[in-house]
Symmetry: C2
Subunit: 159 residues, 2 copies
């Protein structure tokens, strides 16, 4: 081990949303990110991007869940048992969430976004603008991911 | 403030690379992520993805640089002065780096990737598989970003 073993972060702000439970994961969910007052000026120019990455801390996950090594996508028995780094499960050694969101509005220290799957009160660690270096158009994903995505799009279609 | 003010993380591993200085940013740079031994099994199934997000801690940035509020992209005088959250500068309140990389190989607790712009010894916080929810094909980016990208591609073309 070459560097300090412990790393300390301070939230830059918190998520504000009226949605609860599963509805938080709805991609149309609109949330506010309320930054610390002293950080408002660090948003200057962000409105020229249409999309942002929000990096947040999944504070509702327990210490025991952090020690999970294997998980099935969506907890479903018909999905393969995978290492947590091969999935986006919130059960992981560091409770860091990463979501691409649509930027709707910036007013003072409040950033309004669409598609943030984080519960009310979630600490936010960083905001980064999305650009074309963050994209892999030719990316390969596993069969199980394609299967889940097909189900999702069928569900959307039948609404 | 609704949640604990301080968040503690432990690296899941460290970056190993032979490149120094600016060469670290070369997109063809091949690096190893050496995970803690006890986390090797958390990689199971990751090789079915071609691309990963690596989330790391930019440990070389100073406490003073962390307090930076405004920066010019690439530190260039012909670029606009922007809030740090409108840029990908490493000078930000929480020193979290986020890079999309190509997965080349997994052997035990070692993940070999291409395109990781992190120096040797960088603590790694998380690895997440890249999927099509991380992509915004219609994303809008500012004029200054397009200008930088045009220069980069001209440079590559003239090599």
């Amino acid at each position: 081990m070459l560097a300090a073993e412990k790393i300390e972060l301070k939230p830059i702000g918190f998520v504000k949303t009226k949605e609860f439970g599963k509805d938080v994961r709805d991609r149309s969910n609109v949330s506010e990110i309320v930054l610390r007052d002293d950080l408002a000026e660090a948003l200057d120019g962000i409105e020229d991007f249409s999309h942002l990455f929000v990096i947040f801390w999944m504070h509702e996950i327990s210490e025991e869940e952090r020690r999970t090594m294997k998980a099935r996508p969506r907890g479903r028995g018909d999905m393969p048992l995978l290492g947590v780094f091969a999935t986006r499960t919130p059960h992981r050694p560091n409770l860091i969430g990463l979501t691409l969101v649509e930027l709707l509005k910036v007013e003072g220290n409040v950033v309004t976004v669409r598609g943030l799957d984080a519960v009310d009160g979630t600490p936010v660690l960083d905001i980064k603008p999305f650009d074309y270096w963050d994209m892999a158009e030719d990316a390969r994903v596993p069969e199980w991911w394609m299967r889940l995505e097909k189900e999702r799009s069928e569900k959307r279609g039948s609404k």
